[in-house]
């Protein structure tokens, strides 16, 4: 059986038929062709598949795609505005917050969820926001520094 799935994916209305019980990760990649969403463990333990559903961070590998129908979904593909990188993306580059890059999409989305609801996070807030995301390469410090820096710059811009 197939189930209709309709989402607002990075601001755009999209629809597809997906297998019953399909997870959001597979539907985003296979039905909607959004390959910025990565799978690591497919069991909810690594965080690399993090996307925002209705503005909240969700592990797309353990989220039933059907349950998101009618909702908004944000992925890394929607972060940049034309040629302009999102402040988080620029900060990740400036702080060398990626090595192999496998954790990066999940880190960016977990960070975006944080900054969207708390533009002035403390270091503890940042640690808390990414503590479900595993990074094998960076030792986390450059990622934490990048998120704090993006927050500072974002705050300055809107001030």
């Amino acid at each position: 059986m197939k189930t209709p799935i309709q989402l607002r994916l990075n601001g755009e209305e999209v629809a597809a038929f997906a297998d019953d019980g399909a997870n959001l990760l597979d539907v985003l990649r296979e039905s909607f062709g959004d390959l910025t969403v990565k799978g690591g463990c497919w069991q909810g333990t690594c965080g690399t598949c993090t996307v925002l559903v209705g503005g909240n961070p969700r592990l797309s590998c353990v989220t039933l795609a059907e349950s998101c129908s009618g909702n908004s979904v944000e992925t890394v593909a929607g972060l940049r505005r034309g040629a302009d990188l999102h402040p988080l993306q620029s900060a990740f580059m400036e702080h060398f917050a990626a090595q192999c890059g496998y954790c990066t999409p999940g880190m960016l989305m977990a960070a975006k969820a944080l900054l969207d609801r708390n533009p002035n996070p403390t270091r503890e807030d940042v640690v808390d926001a990414i503590c479900g995301n595993i990074c094998r390469c960076t030792g986390y410090e450059p990622i934490i520094a990048a998120i704090l820096d993006a927050a500072r710059k974002g705050a300055r811009r809107s001030a």
Binding site: C41, Q43, T45, C46, F96, A98, Q99, C100, G101, V126, V127, D128, I130, C131, I134, R136, C137, T138, G139, Y140, E141, P142, I143, I144
Partner: protein, 341 residues
């Protein structure tokens, strides 16, 4: 029941490349007709930055802007041979191969430019911004792009170069065991401060302080990135990670990230690092490279810090709370036994 602080130190003398040598890497460099250069390698960049570093080495050797160099590591079936990204050999071995290939390509590029400008190649120099001119007469100049076009369509030359770097396999003297394990060594010293809870066995790493000497740092930000990430991995190996906690019994091994533990972003500590650069005579621009050494000092330094904190010498990794408690209990017994004597 209390928390105890301790400090441990470890130092490292780290050989660059495969022990005893015999581990060649090759590189090919060629220009296309627009004056952009491609470096072909089979060496793998797994995030450590090898593509960035070889790109810098190639651009610097050719004398062209870094934007004009592309490093292609796409396919180890069709690319020039490389022994691999291991043994901290990438920057040193592959970097040297790229340097040799870029030097040869530069030779052809300068000859082609000389032919166009009707001068001797020895009188030419690159400006690093995409032009070649006569020394002392910058107005007598030609762009690398025009040289590439001329070489391709008028002179019938390929601006290309081959490079290989090999530290020949060292003999081992059967009588004395004398050998030459490596041509250059990197060095490190790390100090780790920990806190050990003698009730729970938990070890908290409070601070790391390190000095690394790894030859010329070709890309200082990438070096720092390696050292920060590597020390996290060292701490992870020391205190958390194990495929087989009751080695060699595999039955209790972890199956996934719920059971295979690693320190999270809340478990890291401040880390002061200084990098010392003592160029290696046989390194590309003097580089040795950070590599595996980034993770290595943290394991003995943490074990030493635990000994300093609570007086138990744990020689099995990882040093889990369970092992700390067992060791403390064991020591308690032997102290009691020695009192009974």
């Amino acid at each position: 029941m209390a928390k105890h602080r301790g400090r441990g130190v470890a130092t490292i003398n780290y050989p660059i490349g495969m022990n005893l040598g015999g581990d060649p890497s090759q590189a090919l460099v060629h220009s296309n007709p627009t004056g952009k250069f491609t470096v072909s390698l089979s060496s793998i960049d797994l995030g450590q930055g090898m593509k960035s570093v070889t790109r810098q080495i190639c651009a610097e050797t050719l004398g062209v802007p870094i934007e004009d160099v592309y490093v292609d590591t796409a396919d180890s079936d069709t690319g020039p041979h490389c022994m691999g990204s291991f043994a901290s050999r990438g920057t040193h071995r592959v970097g040297n191969a790229v340097m040799a290939a870029a030097r040869e390509a530069r030779g052809v590029m300068m000859e082609a430019a000389a032919e166009e400008l009707e001068v001797d190649p020895g009188d030419l120099e690159t400006d690093g911004r995409g032009a070649i001119h006569v020394k002392g007469a910058p107005h007598r100049s030609i762009s690398v792009r025009d040289v590439a076009i001329a070489a391709q369509f008028r002179q019938g030359k390929t601006i290309s170069g081959r490079g290989i770097f090999l530290v020949p396999l060292s003999d081992v003297d059967p009588e004395t065991g004398e050998m030459s394990p490596a041509t250059c060594y990197a060095h490190a010293c790390q100090i780790v401060d920990v806190e050990v809870d003698d009730e729970t066995g938990d070890v908290t790493v409070l601070k790391m302080t390190s000095a690394y000497e790894l030859g010329r740092a070709i890309n200082p930000k990438l070096v720092e990135q390696q050292l920060v990430g590597g020390s996290w991995m060292g701490m992870s190996h020391a205190l958390y990670e194990t495929p087989e906690p009751y080695y060699p019994d595999t039955r209790e091994g972890p199956r996934d990230f719920n059971e295979y533990l690693m320190p999270g972003p809340g478990d890291i500590c401040p880390h002061d690092i200084i990098v010392l650069e003592r160029p290696a005579a046989d390194g590309p621009f003097g580089a040795k490279g950070p590599g595996e050494m980034c993770a290595n000092p943290s394991l003995p330094a943490i074990a030493n810090a635990i000994f300093n904190a609570v007086g138990v010498r744990i020689d099995e990794l990882p040093i889990t709370p369970e092992r700390v408690l067992r060791a403390l209990r064991e020591r308690g017994r032997s102290v009691a036994a020695s009192r009974a004597w």
